[in-house]
Subunit: 280 residues, 3 copies
Amino acid sequence: VNALVLMTDFGLKDGAVAAMKGVAQSVSSALHVVDLTHEIPPFLIWEAAYRLRQAAPYWPPGTVFVVVVDPGVGTQRLSVAARDREGRVFVCPDNGTLTLIAEEIGLESIREIDEVAHRLPGSDESYTFLGRDLYAFVGAKLASGGLAFDRVGPDLPDVTRIPHRRVRVQGNTVLGSIPVLDVQYGNIWTDIPKTHLERLGVRMGDRVEVVIRHGEVEHYREVVPYVKSFGLVGPGERLVYINSLLKVALGINCASFALRYGIQSGTTWAVEICKLGPGS
Amino acid sequence: VNALVLMTDFGLKDGAVAAMKGVAQSVSSALHVVDLTHEIPPFLIWEAAYRLRQAAPYWPPGTVFVVVVDPGVGTQRLSVAARDREGRVFVCPDNGTLTLIAEEIGLESIREIDEVAHRLPGSDESYTFLGRDLYAFVGAKLASGGLAFDRVGPDLPDVTRIPHRRVRVQGNTVLGSIPVLDVQYGNIWTDIPKTHLERLGVRMGDRVEVVIRHGEVEHYREVVPYVKSFGLVGPGERLVYINSLLKVALGINCASFALRYGIQSGTTWAVEICKLGPGS
Amino acid sequence: VNALVLMTDFGLKDGAVAAMKGVAQSVSSALHVVDLTHEIPPFLIWEAAYRLRQAAPYWPPGTVFVVVVDPGVGTQRLSVAARDREGRVFVCPDNGTLTLIAEEIGLESIREIDEVAHRLPGSDESYTFLGRDLYAFVGAKLASGGLAFDRVGPDLPDVTRIPHRRVRVQGNTVLGSIPVLDVQYGNIWTDIPKTHLERLGVRMGDRVEVVIRHGEVEHYREVVPYVKSFGLVGPGERLVYINSLLKVALGINCASFALRYGIQSGTTWAVEICKLGPGS
């Protein structure tokens, strides 16, 4: 049985997500419908793109993801279905949601969804809930085999991508940004791959200097140990570690780094990790 | 496979909903158990009635809904199972939960649940958690075919209904109320059907005057465009649109109307939509 | 089909839980994966132990629970799989999570998980997300039959248990504590079994004196009716009742006792229930 995985910024306080699940169950009662999250902050497409990249690679080929963070509902942006190189399918508005899947996994085929042919029957008078009236319906038909990927609509050359800065190295320093927070615990997740630290010659157990800036303002500067996990420093102490996506992260054992130092996420938040010279 | 859909005001912070799901899984491991929402504000039966009406029509015949918002637990109110005209079944306390399903879809058969015959075995000493000890158990047996609807208990002539005001038209104005908010985004959902606007002769692209009152206090009065969707007005601008239930709604593009103007929901919140005369 | 039930302190705002579910779906697409809760307050192992004991007994034999509240990730604590006397299986760090299952249901067999043999293939460089890289993977293999319980790793004599005070009787008074709150409604859940009240000779309809202390400070003292359910006292009135775990609890009809009197939970919060003498 294929899974149909849903992600939205709808929250779970009302009946919106349940209406989408009802549409899916009406298409096929055999589907496993699973929530990725519905707590993407309203309208934050970038956050959806990141959470998708965080979870999708752990799902098997054939899984269909329906992602609806859609501030442009009712405007001219397209709707797409895309298949990644490992056989997962994504159904969403073409608004940047697939930026990181396209970059880090790669898309093999992209189709524009024909919204006239594939709309939920009887939903023509509803204009503001394509999650229910289009995306859940198309996603469920794809996941259950009732619609072949190639019949979704015409080929598209690429998806819309959100521009973002790339990590770079200058001498003994790696420069990156904070694409997202580890919101539940307040850890800082950077976009710096573990391999960049290794290229600088930094090893587990070393200490590194960390700087965090927002625009011109320096919010944090400290020499911190680079260790495997939280339990290796005392409660309240800071650490640099490798997160579950194999990127460099910053935390405080048993406390929130983000709250303590007032750090947020976004492309305007810059992080520098500096290898210390001998004797420092 | 039939789905068993759960809605409560229990929240998801503790083990209450999971205990209900365990009871259902013990009845039949083949059932699909799905959450409608568990974040109905505590004790607000009306909100549960509305969320049920929002999601239930999208589920196929045979789906069983278990709804537990039950401030009267342990008092004389009855427990019911009801089947709507399209073959869905609802299991809940008879406290008004089914008001809008009865009015807008229609109930075909109503049974009082025999609480002695159908209680979870071994739960006799527990008096305050009928969600687990009665409703989830009966719902799972109905959904899995282990109990026929007609064996639930004696016929009832009707369910308890919560009284509420009806939409009416006066001259060029439709008068309605705000049964519920679109809580995640802060949009205002009225009970005025799209067809009432059409009867006034209001068309997409027209501007209408909107007034919102709470008791004697006027909270909002403005002339606003009536458009298809949010993206058709600028960020921060107000719009009248048709929501996913085909009712008139009010929003601000990319912001919360409810927060901005201090609007809440309930029968004491009145909305007027007035067609403008020629030249206005 | 066996169920795989997940509980963590990860929250549902990001992709962490969905990554665990993807791992499980990759092991077997037939599994029912269900959430117990993911809103355990970060790092509170005791709260996880209590919520597990609240929900697990309602699930059938063969159910596998994966519980990850793991402030010690990356340190020397073991990982365990344990089977209770009724055939349910629990997979978690050995940090006290199984305290109440061990005490109140009883464990029949305990295995240390061989973290080298049973880790998710390809996850060797990730050190901080054993929920995904070990526990979900092992749990899914156990639930789907792909791994026999006896092959998990070597036998262990017992699980780690969190010490806690025991209820005791002094004359006409039962002394207990507040292991947890009924967080959604603000009711006070004590650890005093219903049977202890009965042994004192207290019956439904009697009034009892209740005292709540935190350390030396008395937060509450009042004579309160002991009744079956909330609806039997007026709105705003206090009551003693038996909760869904057959323990003594305190509430206010339609309001939060915890908020009203500033009560929290933990072993430092003491409760006394005193049977009143004749004529009082």
